[in-house]
Amino acid sequence: MNGQAATRVAYRRGAALVPSARGSRRILAGAAALLLFTIGAFAPQYLANDFLLRLADGGLLLGILALSIAFLMSQAGLVSLGAASVYGGVGYLFAIAMSQWYLSPLAAIVASMVVVTVYAAILGALIIRTTPLAFMMLTLAAGEMISHAVLLEGLRDYTSGADGLVVSFGGTLFGLEAGDFANSARFWPIVWTAAWAIGSAVWAVRRSRLGAVLRATRQNEERMRFSGFDTYGPRLAAFVLANVIAGACGLLHVLNSGFVSPESLGLGLSTNALVSALIGGTATSAGPLLGGVIFAFAQDQFGAHGLTQLLTGLAIVVFIVLFPSGVVGAWRDFAQWIWRNRNREAG
């Protein structure tokens, strides 16, 4: 009894100390993030040439797609192989909404995101209850169906089959013209801001009650139900959110490239994004984003030697064996190790 009372007092004293220390650290971290964001948004345009910027734009887009996959992996334990079908599909929707339904660019964006949300909700409702392996195969199947649908003869008027669609718009969108999105230097701050916004949103969800429920469900779904939780709704919400991220990323892509083709829907892109997520690590927001950039630059280097496939394969094996929690995960472990050793020496 006495021991417990003492513990309680100690807790209380700790409680008074911890938040202030944590609070100041939080302000510091916030300031550092703000600085990094500002420098990152403007510096590359002055330092990098067009080629490098184009590579970075593509890498960050891949990173956002990887973040969508990583979020579902780390929170719900589900691997989706259909991310690209949403990413590319939203590009087609955007183009069709403007050319066939005569919507303004902004209305076309809203319409295509609504379609993606409804699609994800219906698909998710059907497949979220299955086993993780079945889920993976079903996302693959749904994605392949969409890739084949755009090649259908009957839809040729809408999709132009294998040729792909040129996507452009007149007037302005958020005060920018089509040419601004296509310009690598002007697109960089846009995709950089989007990556930060989406990364922060994912970070917030992870820390929210929904994130806690998802992770506990991933660990022990049965005990969650026996604790009064609905385990279906939260996982469906996570699936829809992952698809909305993939959709937003696809819109950025189509605005930037001004073109959408069956390649942007394919399994190849989904697996590239998955690999990027594994390279960076799935547990954080920064991991997959960084993973996408690393992947894009590495592919470019490997391509220069004409050995893209071989070196990519090798890099994947090395990364997964040496850094199972990805670059950011490994960096985090390393920083924690340093911190602990320093504290041990000090204390």
């Binding site: 005990r223 139900r225 026996f226 009064g228």
Partner: protein
């Protein structure tokens, strides 16, 4: 509190429970269920808690037929259970899992549960890293959150020593008495059951054999032949 009416459960061709009738009336009384291995004790709790659909029969809880209700529905209305094979959140700390469940069930007094199950020293430990006996207590603690009306415990003493089992039973008996709730405890340690339960039911080969106060059960000739014979 709970009325079980001609309940049958089959796993394919195995008839784990056959037309079992049972009433759990008692407020403040621990109701023990004993019987040899494979008698259908766990199956009974699975059916009552919604883990397994009965093949026939009905379950009424607080006057309402709940045979087809979901697990989560039952839990939110005060029916809680623990598991024979520890079923907790291995990667969460003890505090994290207790507070998550408390949040869902709107229980703002987990300190009571922590005290009753004596988990104060383990709150910040990941559940997968603590001793097995303590994990068993976490399993029971998860069932105690939200002030359940009906508590179903499946061999809470599994893997514990005889004294630990007895102590756990005494804890649960006191709790049930204090809160005036109903509780069903499955256990094959008959000594603990006879020491702490007010009513005892014996199952054998999926059938209801007898229900009564411990003294009656001990003296029941059918029970002695089927089960206690070898032990007594």
């Amino acid at each position: 509190m709970l009325e079980i009416d001609k309940l049958s459960v089959s796993y394919g061709t195995v008839h784990a429970l056959q037309e079992v009738d049972l009433e759990i009336a008692g407020e403040g009384v621990l109701h023990g269920v004993i019987g040899p291995n494979g008698a259908g004790k766990s199956t009974l709790l699975d059916a009552v808690s919604g883990r397994r659909r009965p093949t026939a029969g009905a379950i009424r809880y607080r006057g309402q037929d709940i045979t087809r209700r979901s697990v989560a529905w039952r839990r939110r209305r005060g029916m809680a259970r623990s598991f024979q094979r520890t079923n907790i959140f291995q990667d969460l700390t003890v505090r994290e899992q207790l507070s998550l469940v408390a949040w869902r069930l709107g229980d703002d007094r987990i300190s009571d549960v922590i005290e009753v199950m004596d988990l104060g020293d383990y709150l910040e430990e990941r559940a997968g890293r603590i001793a097995y006996g303590v994990q068993r207590r976490v399993d029971v603690a998860l069932a105690l959150i939200g002030r359940p009306q009906l508590l179903l415990l499946d061999e809470p003493g599994a893997g514990l020593s005889a004294e630990e089992t007895l102590r756990l039973f005494q804890h649960v008996r006191d709790l049930v008495g204090e809160r005036r709730i109903a509780a069903v405890v499955v256990e094959h340690d008959v000594d603990a059951v006879f020491a702490c339960c007010g009513v005892v039911t014996v199952l054998d080969l999926g059938r209801h054999l007898a229900t009564g106060v411990p003294a009656e059960i001990r003296a029941d000739q059918r029970v002695i032949t089927a089960y206690l014979g070898s032990a007594a």
